[in-house]
């Protein structure tokens, strides 16, 4: 058939497709439309990345920067008093020298109080005469210093800072302005705070992580908050994981498909979307109030500060968070279980295994990566949760480490929330630093999730 004949045939059957130049134009038009969508998707991605970067930038910007510190008694003076060469770092002075500074600068009573809390040397007393020490230690309730081991150099150095040097941050700057306007800032400090020392400070520091809460921003840390968060998280997962996985196994493997199970499934999905504050109210009503005797530990004979904590304990908070993440754990476990090929179940059952043997040997092992991933993501959610903890009654100021499920507690997000609401600028920096720590912990959790998933991943 010649092209001409072919055209005739096409004409006869009614060719409705574009031909020649029109076809090319049509093709280009379609490609252009595709490109437009592609650009739009890219823009959306860029926007999302930008938002995340902004968030990260704000946090980092606040976490590092220049500070102007005024010291009541400059360190250099103390070093000079000890007769050490100028330029010696106070932190490296040995314990005898540091104690000598305390002896010179503190009143005798203040020194005795410190010594009674914890003695300076194991073999000798500094402030307390030996006879009154013996009397103090013979009391019904001896001072902690009688039994605790002696202070180490780092401890005494902290005391010197706290009681003698008393550094005070008089001004602070963000990272960007510190980097860009350093000379202007130094000039400003020179003028306004002639005695102040300029220092570049990382608000995230080992001592920030190690120190407990403190009213002085110089000394405040997040130790209690991190420990509180870890306690709450650990107990929450301990409660939510077995219950969630067991419920998911029942729903996926045993429950027949009737209206009751459908109703339950739908409601679990809805529960996952309930605002967390509602769970907080629930936790307050059930765990803090109704089950107070259990959550406060009094029913189990655990004393807690003479009932100060009442039901507002780590246990209440973790059970509340367990309720909060339970739907997420159930749903992700259900999905993981559902993703196990049906052929494994059939093969197991066809070999004369019971249902449970099949689930135990084939379904659960193959669902493990998915279950773990979902659970760890739920943990990450619980870790950052604030509202329910506020309602359940997390304390905002705690200086002692939580030591069990019946302790009062605070948590990282609560600490951050509390610091951001303080007027002093230093606390804003502390909050930013705490956010950084929180982010790092969350990233660690998620990285663990990915590692676990890869570790258990099977190919079939």
């Amino acid at each position: 058939m010649s092209p001409a004949e072919a055209a005739v045939v096409r004409e006869a059957v009614g060719n409705r497709f574009p031909e020649g130049d029109e076809a090319i134009r049509h093709g280009r038009r379609r490609q252009r439309r595709g490109t437009t969508y592609r650009v739009a998707f890219l823009a959306a991605l860029a926007l999302a990345v930008l938002a995340l970067l902004t968030l990260l930038f704000t946090v980092v910007n606040q976490s590092f920067g220049l500070v102007a510190i005024e010291e009541t008694i400059p360190r250099d003076d103390l070093v000079a008093e000890l007769g050490l060469p100028a330029g010696t770092d106070l932190a490296s002075v040995e314990i005898n020298g540091l104690v000598a500074i305390l002896q010179n600068r503190l009143s005798r009573n203040a020194g005795r109080r410190l010594e009674r809390d914890q003695r300076f040397f194991a073999d000798r007393l500094v402030f307390e005469p030996a006879d009154s020490w013996a009397e103090v230690c013979a009391r019904q309730e001896p001072e902690p210093g009688c039994t605790l081991p002696a202070r180490d150099q780092a401890n005494v150095y902290q005391l010197v800072l706290e009681k003698v040097v008393e550094p005070d941050i008089v001004a602070s700057w963000s990272l960007t302005s510190s980097l860009v306007d350093r000379t202007a800032i130094e000039a400003e400090i020179e003028e306004e705070f002639p005695d102040a020392v300029v220092d570049f400070r990382s608000w995230v520091s080992p001592s920030f992580i190690r120190s407990p809460q403190h009213p002085d921003p110089e000394l405040a840390g997040i130790r209690t908050a991190i420990l509180g968060s870890l306690w709450v998280l650990a107990l929450a997962i301990l409660a939510a994981f077995p219950i969630g996985v067991a419920a998911a196994v029942y729903l996926e493997e045993y429950a027949s498909d009737n209206w009751i199970s459908r109703l339950i499934r739908t409601n679990i999905n809805n529960l996952a979307g309930v605002p967390s504050i509602i769970y907080g109210m629930l936790g307050l009503a059930i765990f803090v109030r109704a089950l107070e005797s259990i959550t406060s530990g009094s029913a189990l004979g655990a004393g807690n500060d003479g009932g100060v904590a009442n039901g507002r304990t780590i246990l209440s908070a973790s059970l509340t968070l367990a309720l909060l993440v339970l739907p997420v754990v159930i749903i992700s476990s259900q999905e993981a279980i559902r993703a196990v090929p049906q052929s494994f179940r059939r093969a197991g059952l066809a070999l004369g295994a019971t249902k449970w043997q099949t689930i135990r040997a084939h379904v659960l092992p193959n669902a493990t990566p998915g279950i773990l991933t979902g659970t760890i993501l739920a943990m990450a959610r619980a870790f950052g949760e604030t509202a329910p903890l506020v309602v359940v009654g997390a304390s905002t100021f705690i200086t002692v480490d939580p030591d069990g499920p019946f302790s009062k507690f605070t948590a990282l997000p609560i600490q951050i929330f509390q610091w951001t609401s303080r007027p002093q600028e230093e606390f804003q920096h502390l909050a930013a630093a705490a956010i950084l720590v929180l982010l790092v912990l969350l990233l660690t959790l998620n990285a663990t999730a990915i590692l676990l998933r890869n570790r258990f991943q099977r190919s079939y």
């Binding site: 027949s256 498909d257 059939r346 093969a347 059952l349 070999l351 193959n366 099977r458």
Partner: protein
């Protein structure tokens, strides 16, 4: 009751041994491993198969053939109560294993499935080692003997031992498709079942692997009674001793058209429908 008199031989079974009853056949004087009595299977309100009367002779291969959707696999699954796993499935009539109705009230489906093994359409080894694939079924069924011997024996019977003896610890998924299917056969026969059901065991395999499986099936019948569903009529003709042809009625319910020695079904079908099907006029 009518007796067919043509003298076609399959192994030592004569057509004369068959008593024909309403389209169904019962080979006399031969031990029957498993048989159905007026079997009907429902999925919810839908009747998938009806009036199935098939008796599978011990140590023979019985093939179930028929067009798509006629209920071959449904019948096969009723032999080891795998239909129980399908929500809404219900069975009427009887399936007798050694004369005992496996749908009886006192029968535990788990025990039935140990005695009636099954091989599926797609090779489905467990994502475990080759050894574990074979040993697991024995272990969960309380096997107390030497597992190594059991695994070796089963793999030898499945003609797989020489290929895998050096890599028993490797994943079952490291094998080729045909090897995987033989592993699944080894897994099934490791339990010393009386009957092995095969649901289109070669449909996912290439022709060479298919041939090996067919040869294997021929060897296995010395020890086991085999019931095989196949889409492939040449396979039924080549590999089976008895053939049951199923078709669908107007309500899409499967029924047994004809059952008899394979040679008779393929050379002298008594029903026009059977002839139409095996000559490729439908299905």
């Amino acid at each position: 009751m009518e007796t067919v008199e043509s003298a076609s031989l399959v192994e030592d079974v004569k057509m004369a041994d068959l008593t024909i009853e309403a389209g169904a056949a019962r080979p006399h004087d031969h031990p029957v491993a498993v048989e159905t009595r007026d079997l009907a299977v429902y999925y919810g309100a839908f009747r998938a198969v009806k009036d199935i009367n098939v008796a599978c002779v011990t140590n023979m291969i019985t093939a179930l053939i028929g067009p798509s959707g006629c209920g071959k696999s449904t019948v096969l699954r009723s032999f080891n109560r795998m239909n129980d796993l399908i929500p809404g499935a219900r069975v009427e009539g009887e399936v007798r294993l050694d004369g005992i109705n496996i749908y009886g009230p006192a029968v535990d489906p788990v025990e039935v499935r140990r005695r009636v093994g099954m091989v599926f359409q797609k090779p489905n080894p467990f994502p475990k080692s080759i050894f574990e694939n074979v040993a697991w079924g024995a272990r969960v069924n309380g096997f107390k003997g030497n597992l190594n011997e059991l695994v070796e024996g089963a793999l030898r019977q499945a003609a797989l031992w020489d290929e895998v003896k050096d890599k028993l610890r490797e994943s079952g998924y490291s094998l080729s498709g045909g090897q995987q299917q033989r592993l699944c056969i080894a897994r099934a026969i490791a339990l010393k079942p009386e009957v092995v059901l095969m649901d289109e065991p070669t449909s996912a395999l290439d022709p060479v692997a298919t041939l090996r499986i067919e040869e294997l099936i021929g060897e296995l019948k010395e020890r086991y009674t085999i019931v095989i569903v196949t889409h492939n009529m040449q396979q039924a003709a080549r590999a089976s001793d008895f053939t049951a042809f199923l078709n669908m009625d107007e309500d899409r319910a499967g029924y047994l058209v004809e059952y008899g020695p394979t040679e008779a079904i393929f050379t002298k079908p008594r029903q026009q429908t059977t002839e139409d099907y095996i000559t490729g006029r439908f299905g």
